[in-house]
C-alpha cells in the first residue's frame, strides 16, 4: 500500500511538470496558426473594418505581447480557470463539462466492448487455430481493421436506421421526448448502439489479433506444460495459465487506447451527430476559439496522464514481476 502511495505521489509530481510543458506548447502552437478569433468574428459579422477588428482584439486582450498573454493564461490555468469563450459567451469549463459525459459514455462503452469482444474472439481463434472459426475471426478482424471508420458508420446507419429502421441514426437522445428514468436510459442506449459499434469494431480487431498472437506464443511455454502435467482441465489451463499471461500485451495496448478515449472520437461524433468533446473541438478549430481549444487540449492531456498512471498500476497488479517503484 505504501509502495502504491509513493508511486502515485511521484507520478503526480512528474505530471505537474509534464502538464506545464503541454500547456505552454499548446498555447504557442495554437498561436502559430494564421488568423485569430477577431478576424473570424469580424468576417462573420460582415462589412467589418480594420478599426472594429482592432477593437475586438483589444477587448479580448489579443493586442498584448505574446509572453504576457501566456503568463496570464498560465496563471489562470493554475487556479483552475480555463478561460471564457467569447464566441459562445460562456466559461470554457462549463462548455467542456457539458460535453464530456457524452463523449466518455460513448468511448467508454466502445472501449469495454472492444476489450471484451476482442479478447473473447482472439481466445476463440487461438483455441481453434487453423480451423474455419479461426479463419472467420481473422478475416472479420482484418476487415474491421482495414475499413475506414466513417464508412463503417455510414453503412451501419444505412442498414439499421434507413433500411430496417431499428435504431436511431444520430444524436444522444430523442430530443423533445422528455423521457425520464429508465425510459431515458433505454433511449440513450438505443442511440449509443451504432456509434459504439462503429468505434469499438476497430479496436476490437486490434485486440483480437493481439490476443490471438499472444496466446499462440504463451500456450507453448513450459509452465503450460507443467499445468497440463498436473492433470488440470483444459478450461482451467486456458483461463488461469494461458490467458492470464497472454493478456499482458493487450493491457499495454489498452492503456494507450484509454488515453485516447476523449480525443479519438471526433470522426464518430461528426458522423453520428454526437454532442461530445470531439465536435466541440472541431467547431472551436473552425472558429479560432482559442480558449475552448486550449481547454480541450488541457482536459485530454490530463486524461492521458491519468490513464497512463492507471495502466501502470493495473500492470503491476496483474504482473507481480513489475513493481510500482
Amino acid at each position: 500500500m505504501a509502495a502504491i502511495a509513493s508511486f502515485l505521489g511521484r507520478r503526480l509530481f512528474k505530471a505537474v511538470f509534464i502538464l506545464f510543458a503541454i500547456v505552454v506548447i499548446n498555447f504557442l502552437l495554437v498561436r502559430a496558426a494564421p488568423g485569430d478569433p477577431a478576424t473570424v468574428m469580424a468576417g462573420e459579422a460582415g462589412a467589418a473594418d480594420e478599426q472594429f477588428v482592432q477593437q475586438l482584439r483589444e477587448q479580448f486582450g489579443l493586442d498584448r505581447p505574446l509572453h504576457e498573454q501566456l503568463g496570464i493564461y498560465l496563471a489562470d490555468v493554475a487556479t483552475g480557470d480555463l478561460g471564457y469563450s467569447y464566441r459562445q459567451q460562456r466559461p470554457v469549463w462549463d462548455l467542456i463539462a457539458e460535453r464530456l459525459p457524452a463523449t466518455l459514455i460513448l468511448t467508454g462503452a466502445a472501449f469495454v466492448l472492444a476489450l471484451a469482444a476482442g479478447i473473447g474472439l482472439g481466445t476463440l481463434a487461438a483455441q481453434n487455430v487453423g480451423r474455419w472459426s479461426d479463419s472467420a475471426i481473422t478475416v472479420l478482424a482484418l476487415v474491421s481493421y482495414a475499413t475506414p471508420i466513417f464508412w463503417v458508420g455510414l453503412m451501419l446507419i444505412l442498414l439499421f436506421s434507413v433500411q430496417l429502421g431499428w435504431l436511431p441514426a444520430f444524436g444522444y437522445e430523442t430530443i423533445g421526448a422528455g423521457y425520464t428514468g429508465w425510459e431515458r436510459v433505454t433511449d440513450i442506449a438505443a442511440h449509443m448502439v451504432l456509434p459504439v459499434l462503429t468505434l469499438g469494431l476497430f479496436y476490437m480487431a486490434v485486440y483480437a489479433r493481439l490476443t490471438r498472437a499472444s496466446i499462440l506464443e504463451v500456450r507453448d511455454m513450459d509452465f503450460v506444460k507443467t499445468a497440463r502435467a498436473k492433470g488440470l482441465g483444459e478450461t482451467r489451463i486456458v483461463l488461469k495459465h494461458v490467458l492470464r499471461n497472454a493478456i499482458l500485451p493487450v493491457i499495454t495496448f489498452a492503456g494507450i487506447q484509454a488515453g485516447h478515449l476523449v480525443g479519438g472520437s471526433i470522426l464518430i461524433e461528426t458522423v453520428f451527430a454526437w454532442p461530445g468533446i470531439g465536435r466541440l473541438a472541431f467547431d472551436a478549430v473552425l472558429q479560432r476559439d482559442y480558449q475552448v481549444l486550449l481547454g480541450i487540449f488541457f482536459v485530454t492531456s490530463v486524461l492521458v496522464i491519468v490513464f497512463n498512471i492507471l495502466t501502470d498500476l493495473v500492470y503491476s497488479l496483474v504482473d507481480p514481476r513489475i513493481e510500482v517503484a
Binding site: G233, N245, R321
Partner: protein
C-alpha cells in the same frame, strides 16, 4: 511381477511429415518397477523426452502422435484411456518435472497456488487442508520458511529453489511414478548435487519408481539403478546401472561414456615463458540495476580485485557458478564492458584507460567465442560474410578476406561450400566451429572462450574441445576459457582460477586445483561433480587420448 509400475512395450511415436526422420521414437520397450530409478540417456534429438511425454500424454498435438505400442500403468494401457482418465493419472499417480526451472512455473501465480492446483484437481481436501499440505510439501523439499514462501512469486526464487518447488508440486499426491526430464541440466553443479540428493531421498522414502532423463553419464552414475541408452529414437542398450556403467556393450554407449569429460592426470604442467600476454590487476566491476529519476537502483558486484595473468600459449580456465562474475571478467577484457577500477594490461598497455577509438586496434588481438551458437551468428548473413566481416572492417580487401574465410572453414573442419550457406543450416557443433573460425579470422593472440561447449551434446563437446586444443597449439594462441563445468576445465586448461561472487578464491595449475584444492569453495565444487565415485572403464578412458594414458579416476 506385481512390482512393475510402468511397462512400455514397442512404443512408436510418429513425427509429422517432412521431419528429419519418420518416427521420434521407434519400438521402445522399458519397464520401471517400484523403488527403481531408470535413467534414460541419449543426446539431443534421441527421442528420450518424447518417450516421457508420450507416457504423460503431453505430446504436442496434433502433429506428433503415438502410432504403436502400449504404455501400461499397473497393467492398464494409458494410451487407450479416455482423456479424463489420463488426466486423473497425470499429476496424481504419475508426475513430471522439467528441465527449465526458470520457465516451468507460471510467473503470475504464487508458488503456493500452483501447488494447490494439483491438490484441488486430484484430492478432496478442503481449503485449510490443502494449505497445510502445501506448507508440508515445501518443507519436505527443504525450502526455508515455507509459510512465507508459499505466498512468493516464482521470480523471487533461484533456479534451485524453483526446481524444488517443481518437485514439491510433483510429489503433492504421492505419485507412484516420477518422470524427471533433465531436471538438473540447467542448474549449477552444487545445486545439481542438492537436487539429485533430494530426488534420491524422496524416492527412497516414498518407494517411487523414477524415470530420469539425462544426457550426463556423471548424473547416471550418481543415481541410476537401471539405465537405458537411446539413439535416433531407438533404445540401443538397457540394463542395470552396474552393468551399463562398467561393462557397456553397444558401441554407442561406449562412445558416450568415452566422451564424458574427465581429468587427465598425465598432462604436463605448462611452462610459463616470457612476458605475460595479459595481466589483470585488481579489476573491479559493479553493475547498477534499475534506478532512474527520483529512485535508487540495486548494485551487483560482478568483480572485485580480480588479478590474473595469461602467458603466451597458456590456457587459463575461469570456473564458477552462474552469477560468479566469470563472464563479466571475459567481457571486460574484450572491451564489451568497461571495468570500473584496476588495470588490464595487454602487452604492457592498459586497456581500461583507453577510449573506444584507441581500444580498436586491440580488438583484433583479443577475440571472443560465445556460449550460444544459435544466438551468436547473425541468421541473415552467409557464413563467409560472418567470418570475413572482421578482417574487412580492419581494411582487408573483400576478395582476400573471403578466400581466407574458406581457408579457416577448412581449418575448423568444415567443407568450403559451407561459406555460401546460412547459419541455420548447421547443427550446434558446426555453428560453434563457425564461431571459432570467425574468432580466428582476425589472427588474434588471445581468445576468450565463454562457455563454448556448454550448449552442446557430450560427443560434440569433445570434438569442439579437441578442435580448440589443436588450434591453439598449432597457432600458439593463449586462451581464457570460461566454464561452469570443472570436468571440462580439467580437460583443456593449464591453469584454473576458481571464482565465487566476483572474487577469485583460488588460482593454481589444473593439477594442483584438482588434487590439492586449498579453498573450501573449490572443494565444494569438486565434491559436487556428479559421478565422482564412478570410474570410467579402463579401455574407454584410454581411447580418446590415443590409448597412451593410463589415468586413474574418472573425474578429479
Amino acid at each position: 511381477m506385481s512390482d512393475i509400475l510402468l511397462d512400455v512395450r514397442d512404443l512408436t511415436v510418429a513425427l509429422p511429415e517432412g521431419a528429419e526422420r519418420p518416427n521420434a521414437v521407434e519400438g521402445i520397450s522399458l519397464t520401471i518397477g517400484k523403488n527403481e530409478i531408470l535413467c534414460v540417456v541419449g543426446e539431443s534429438g534421441s527421442g528420450k523426452s518424447m518417450t516421457a511425454h508420450a507416457v504423460m500424454g503431453l505430446l504436442p498435438k496434433p502433429h506428433v502422435k503415438v502410432t504403436g505400442g502400449q504404455a501400461l500403468y499397473r497393467g492398464r494401457d494409458i494410451l487407450t484411456m479416455t482423456e479424463a482418465e489420463q488426466r486423473s493419472l497425470r499429476g496424481g499417480r504419475i508426475a513430471m518435472i522439467f528441465q527449465e526451472p526458470m520457465t516451468a512455473l507460471n510467473p503470475l501465480m504464487t508458488v503456493g497456488d500452483q501447488i494447490e492446483e494439483s491438490l484441488k484437481a486430484h484430492s478432496d481436501l478442503d481449503k485449510a487442508g490443502r494449505r497445510a499440505r502445501v506448507v508440508e510439501l515445501l518443507a519436505d523439499v527443504g525450502l526455508p520458511d515455507p509459510e512465507h514462501l508459499r505466498r512468493s512469486y516464482p521470480f523471487r526464487l533461484s533456479g534451485g529453489q524453483r526446481q524444488r518447488v517443481m518437485i514439491a508440486m510433483a510429489l503433492a499426491l504421492e505419485p507412484d511414478i516420477l518422470i524427471a526430464d533433465e531436471p538438473t541440466t540447467a542448474l549449477d553443479v552444487t545445486t545439481q548435487k542438492q537436487i539429485l540428493d533430494l530426488i534420491r531421498t524422496l524416492q527412497a522414502e516414498k518407494e517411487m519408481g523414477v524415470m530420469f532423463i539425462t544426457h550426463d553419464f556423471g548424473v547416471v552414475a550418481e543415481i541410476a539403478t537401471h539405465v537405458a541408452v537411446m539413439q535416433h529414437g531407438r533404445c540401443v542398450e538397457i540394463g542395470t546401472a552396474e552393468q551399463m556403467l562398467n561393462a557397456p556393450k553397444h558401441p554407442y554407449t561406449r562412445d558416450l561414456i568415452a566422451a564424458v569429460p574427465h581429468y587427465i592426470e598425465h598432462r604436463d604442467d605448462f611452462l610459463k615463458q616470457g612476458e605475460a600476454l595479459l595481466q589483470a590487476d585488481k579489476v573491479c566491476k559493479t553493475f547498477h540495476l534499475g534506478g532512474g529519476f527520483l529512485r535508487k537502483g540495486r548494485q551487483i558486484v560482478a568483480g572485485r580485485d580480480i588479478t590474473l595473468t595469461i602467458h603466451p600459449g597458456e590456457t587459463v580456465g575461469v570456473v564458477g557458478e552462474s552469477g560468479s562474475g566469470k563472464s563479466t571478467l571475459g567481457r571486460c577484457i574484450v572491451g564489451l564492458h568497461k571495468a570500473d577500477g584496476g588495470r588490464i594490461l595487454y602487452q604492457g598497455q592498459d586497456l581500461v584507460a583507453l577510449d573506444r577509438k584507441r581500444f580498436r586496434p586491440f580488438r583484433k588481438d583479443i577475440q571472443m567465442i560465445f556460449q550460444d551458437p544459435y544466438a551468436s551468428l547473425n541468421p541473415r548473413h552467409k557464413v563467409a560474410d560472418i567470418i570475413a566481416q572482421g578482417p574487412i572492417a580492419f581494411g582487408e580487401p573483400r576478395a582476400k578476406a573471403l578466400d581466407r574465410a574458406r581457408e579457416l572453414l577448412r581449418l575448423v573442419g568444415l567443407p568450403e561450400q559451407a561459406a555460401e550457406r546460412y547459419p541455420h543450416e548447421f547443427s550446434g557443433g558446426q555453428r560453434q566451429r563457425i564461431s571459432i573460425a570467425r574468432a580466428l579470422a582476425l589472427e588474434p593472440k588471445l581468445i576468450i572462450a565463454d562457455e563454448p561447449v556448454s550448449a552442446l551434446d557430450v560427443s560434440v563437446q569433445t570434438q569442439v574441445l579437441d578442435l580448440l586444443d589443436e588450434i591453439r597449439h598449432r597457432l600458439g594462441l593463449s586462451m581464457l576459457f570460461i566454464t561452469h563445468d570443472l570436468r571440462v576445465a580439467a580437460q583443456v586448461c593449464d591453469t584454473i582460477a576458481v571464482m565465487q561472487k566476483g572474487v577469485i578464491v583460488e588460482m593454481n595449475t589444473a593439477r594442483e586445483v584438482f588434487q590439492n584444492p586449498q579453498h573450501p569453495y573449490t572443494r565444494t565444487l569438486l565434491d559436487a561433480i556428479p559421478g565422482r565415485g564412478w570410474e570410467i572403464p579402463e579401455d574407454l578412458r584410454a581411447r580418446r587420448h590415443g590409448g597412451t594414458h593410463d589415468g586413474r579416476g574418472a573425474v578429479a
